[in-house]
């Protein structure tokens, strides 16, 4: 049952990715040229509202559907991994114009060539696992 809810949230997410045009390579390219507010508006609105929800959750100590307190995991403190990892991610994001969510959405939308991107992303993830201990974190 819980998995069904996750599936439904995913369907909703996929529809939004396509309809917001955040899954369009052209929108990502346009974002990196700073010639449109569209993507900044999407991310900015989501972050402002998201920050509001999280503050409310913390203030009122809200519980999740299992009646357990909601704990939001803090990210580990360090700098190198976020900066270097972020730059590498950004290079790929700008090149193929899709981040991990839209990759799956675009397959559903019928762009089967995106499967190559997913295979690449799995290879990249695996490569990171192999090299993890040799990288600065």
């Amino acid at each position: 049952m819980r998995n069904l809810y996750c599936l439904l949230v995913g369907v909703f997410f996929g529809i939004i990715m396509i309809k917001s045009e955040a899954a369009s390579w052209f929108r990502i390219y346009e974002m990196f040229t700073f010639k449109s507010f569209h993507m900044y508006g999407i991310i900015g609105t989501a972050v402002c509202l998201g920050a509001l929800y999280i503050q409310l959750i913390k203030r009122f100590k809200l519980k999740n559907i299992d009646k357990k307190p909601i704990i939001i995991k803090e990210k580990n403190k360090s700098q190198y991994r976020y900066l270097f990892g972020g730059i590498i991610f950004g290079l790929g994001w700008a090149l193929v114009g899709a981040c991990p969510g839209p990759m799956f959405t675009l397959i559903g939308a019928g762009y089967f060539s995106v499967l190559i991107v997913i295979i690449g992303a799995l290879l990249g993830t695996w490569l990171y696992g192999l090299l993890k201990n040799k990288l600065p974190h």
Binding site: C6, L7, G50, G120
Partner: protein, 183 residues
Amino acid sequence: MELLNEPFPWHVSGFLISLIMLLLILMGKSFGVSSNLRTICAALGAGKTCDFFCFNWKTTRWNLFVIFGALIGGFIAANYMSGLNPPDINPDVIAELNTLGFESAGNNYLPLELFDNLYSIKAICILLIGGILIGFGARYAGGCTSGHAISGLSNLQLPSLIAVLGFFIGGLLMIHLIFPFIF
């Protein structure tokens, strides 16, 4: 219902994305798509090659349902909600892309030169290399757009701000310095 056939404006999209994060938090989960890539690697047996993939991937199976749902959502939006109409991007950007050789700019949802060009070794290499950079970078940074730019920034996490700055440094380098050599 007519509105569902129009592209969603940025404020509606941003609001809906924030709801996705909220729903997952209320379900006791979190919004982060790229960790699925690690889960899939683990499920495919990558644990035999290194410790990073030695974990019980079934504990993160819920997230695979999210991405499978995202795939179905893509199908619904594309086929029943006129989702693949060309985005209304800035005409300057269209002109710029035309000079780079992207004739499909302004007429398609994705550039056909890259995504509908499987006879081109160059296009295939670009898709594969881009994917590798995304997968590697997301795990190195510990998250992607959903985990850092949306979830992490919403929780006012400095590491996520650093990661998002990194996303932008990488994206700007790619488009302004590397694109002229590729296209």
